[in-house]
């Protein structure tokens, strides 16, 4: 059981942290709670939700930055940017569905705190590359800021980088500035059909090394391609290797033509997706929607009065001061029905070899390749127990990181969710944590 605290502004946020600091109360920090089942289990009796601190602070499209309150829903930010034909270049994935919750519920802070990026990461960088500045409260209950609202800024340490991926262990943020970019006019995708994993990764690396400015490079083995909601992908009857080009119409046409010529000889068959289908397809890749199990709406909708929905309209909903408790783990319990899901970050050319090495010991492994082979989403059967899979997965790596993204809470409590680090790095990470949060009130055991 955990009590959810939901401050509505920076002042309330500061007072909440001050209280926690003084009473030595541990707080788990979350954005809107959509990724609560990500990372090591939450252990605190109190959860500090940023969902009540929402809204756009400043957005001037020609400045290429947007400043929002931390708990603002990602879908609201993306919708606002789309109105002005802009976007977040790092193409943040929505992991809500694969983590057992509802899609579309995450916050911008949550995506940044997990440093999640989609297919365009390979061309445009990760979430951390677009995080320019913030305001927040540290573990001393002090409001502070870092970075700025400028794309180009080297004044002081780049604490935004440090916040990205910190899982709420360093500070509770209340305001965030990120970089935005113009959205492309056209999005086309070249599909190479029927390549095996090794040949597909080699083709993707060739495409990335070409001068054609490829912004997405993914490979779906036949079983996953067949699950796609995009007819042209699902109907191929074989594996699909996808290469995306984006930009102004004449450029997209010319580059796609050039890529067609480049791969005409090496691929058994070529197909093309135009803008609408391309967008749908890359959303599937981005949100990891094709990994098993998938394809059916989740049997258990979020509990009434539970997470997410109520907060976007009113932070209060008549529950102020009430001690309505929620089920521990929330969405978590449901994920025990799902397969284990690993996210492997490795040198792109190594992707297929890593998967082959894992399959030698775990033939049940299914893999989806993104980032030209540098990101492997790998699912394993035997939900509910890890069966030493983490040892198998990590032994296959030759440089890189493997993260256990989806597993029942008991497994995540027992198995190192994140790639183990050297003792020197562990010690340094603890010192960094202490420099922000000396008494360890924030998100204990989540990262450092």
């Amino acid at each position: 059981m955990t009590v959810l605290l939901k401050p509505r502004d920076a002042g309330e946020l500061q007072r909440t942290v001050a209280w926690a600091l003084n009473d030595a109360v541990a707080l788990d920090i979350e954005g809107r709670g959509s990724k609560r089942a990500y990372g090591p289990p939450h252990t605190a009796a109190h959860t500090l939700s940023l969902a009540g601190i929402e809204g756009v602070v400043d957005y001037q499209p020609e400045e290429l930055v947007i400043t929002v309150r931390a708990g603002t829903a990602l879908r609201e930010v993306e919708a606002l940017l789309a109105q002005r034909r802009q976007m977040l270049a790092f193409e943040p994935p929505d992991l809500g569905a694969i983590l057992g919750g509802a899609p579309g519920e995450g916050s911008l802070a949550g995506v940044l705190m997990c440093n999640l990026a989609g297919p365009r990461r390979i061309a445009a960088g990760a979430a951390r590359d677009h995080f320019l500045g913030f305001q927040g409260v540290n573990g001393r209950a002090e409001p502070f800021k870092a970075g700025g609202k400028m794309v180009k800024n080297v004044t002081g340490y780049d604490l935004s980088k440090l916040m990205a991926g910190s899982l709420g262990t360093l500070a509770a943020l209340d305001e965030i500035t990120v970089k935005v970019v113009p959205a492309p006019e056209k999005v086309h995708t070249l599909l190479l059909v029927g390549l095996d994993d090794q040949a597909a990764v080699a083709a993707l690396c060739d495409a990335m090394g070409s001068p054609h400015e490829v912004s997405g490079a993914a490979h779906l083995p036949a079983s996953l391609a067949a699950r796609s909601g995009v007819d042209l992908v699902a109907q191929q009857g074989g594996s699909v290797t996808a290469i995306r080009v984006e930009g102004v119409a004449p450029s997209v046409a010319a580059r796609l033509q050039a890529l067609r010529a480049q791969f005409a000889a090496s691929a058994p068959a070529l197909e093309e997706l135009h803008t609408m289908r391309s967008r749908a397809f890359w959303d599937e890749v981005r949100n990891v929607g094709l990994m098993p199990p998938t394809g059916t709406p989740h049997p258990n909708p979020p509990p009434q009065g539970g997470r997410g929905h109520e907060s976007s309209t009113s932070p209060l909903v008549g529950e102020v001061g009430g001690a309505q408790r929620r089920r521990e783990g929330g969405s978590d319990a449901r994920s025990s029905e799902a397969t284990l899901l690993w996210k492997i970050s490795c040198p792109p050319t190594d992707g297929a070899r890593v998967v082959a090495a894992i399959r030698e010991r775990r033939p049940d492994a299914q893999a989806l390749y993104d980032w030209s082979g540098g990101l492997v989403w790998l699912s394993l059967d035997a939900a509910g127990s890890d069966d030493g899979a983490h040892v198998v997965v990590r032994a296959a790596l030759a440089g890189g990181h493997a993260t256990l993204v989806r597993a029942p809470e008991a497994v995540r409590a027992r198995v190192p969710v994140f790639q183990p680090r050297s003792p020197a790095l562990v010690a340094l990470s603890h010192r960094v944590k202490e420099s922000f949060d000396p008494t360890g009130i924030f998100s204990r055991g989540r990262l450092a």
Partner: protein
Amino acid sequence: MQMPPLDPAILARRAEIVAALRTIVPGEGVIADEIGMRPFECDALSAYRQMPLVVVLPETVAQVSQILRYCQDHGVKVVPRGAGTSLSGGSMPVGDAILLGMAKFNRILEVDFPNRCARVQPGVTNLGITTAVQHEGFYYAPDPSSQIACSIGGNVAENSGGVHCLKYGLTTNNLLGLEVVLMNGEVVRLGGKHLDSEGYDLMGVMTGSEGLLGVVTEVTVRLLRKPTTARAVLLGFPSEAGAADCVAAVIGAGIIPGGMEMMDKDAVHCAEAYVGAGYPMDVEALLIVELDGPPVEVDHLIERVAAIARDKGASTVRVSNDEQERLLFWAGRKAAFPAVGQITPDYMCLDGSVPRHRLTEVLSRMRELSKQHRLRVVNVFHAGDGNLHPLILFDANDADELQRAEAFGADILRLCVEVGGVLTGEHGVGIEKRDLMGVQFSEVDLDQQMRLKCAFDPDHLLNPGKVFPQLRRCAELGRLVVHHGKVPFPDIPRF
């Protein structure tokens, strides 16, 4: 410029420290004589000079580790140095500190084209990386003006930018991995050839930390395929406001040029006199906009940019027709600093960033400040990202002018912060802007940054006197007063 007082105990132990360093780095790697140390007495912020305690030039990671460990154990300060091209005094020596030069780390360790990355030692020059990979059509994107001389290790320390960072990002956006030696001698590897690592992004925070957190001994950079075409368009405007409007309109139209540079009238005249780039002389502001990518895209976008410029009242619109003409357009811009150097004994180059929509206002207020301080200012800047490089003209031999130039520079940077910008876009804080940090950051903000330094360097031995106006001891920064049970539960919604 005030630097921390020298520690007489360290100065008294100089011979002992030199001898200890010689046991770690044999032969010519330790330089302790005055003539040998003289070339290291300043960096590119050459108005400030200071001889170091001793210069040491290690060749191996093990030597760097032993040097730092020795310094940590004996309380000796260390100033790391790449190529010494910092414009903010980031590698300026300190009298009671070892100068740790990384110039001998000059090898390219590995080029991996299929994974589009290169592993290099920190002393390799920025341009040296591109030179090593261009035969395969690749390059390293960040291009600071000093790229022929500056080292990649220094680029990491300063998070260097350049003309093309609007489209391709700063150093931090083009790194995959680092090897770093901490002040306690520990060697840590951050990132690698893979794209994302879990855990704190220590590579991100090392980048741009100005040599205060650790010493970089290896860098893995991202390589990009060179764009197939680049064309530039020269746009002259009868007013600065027109040029600024054009910049905003180009970006508003969804176009991100490879580079978008602005020069004011004085800069145009200086540059034209110096290199004869064919710039129009009857304009108040000149823009150089470069588009790169596939030829069909460049042709398409350059027409759109030209149309926007005409709409915003451009009096000159000239598109480069060949590579020679494109390079000529750039020749004036690239020579702008030395060109300005021709008309003044000295100049001070500033580096604030401002929101684009405040550009015209900032330029006009800068003119007022120019009158007030009785010194001329010439403006050359990266208009695309609002990164200004005002050049204040003065004579360093005139003590009053130097003082006025410093005061004028400080006023310009205050103005940048006032309009929502920042003190430095790419040159770093160093010693130059150190005392202005309080303009942009509160005491709490700065204390938090200093506490982070304590996590890396608890005795504040690395690059002392830089970035922070006043270093407070880690013990003092770490103090925390907690009144258990005396803060009421805040009146906030809970569920």
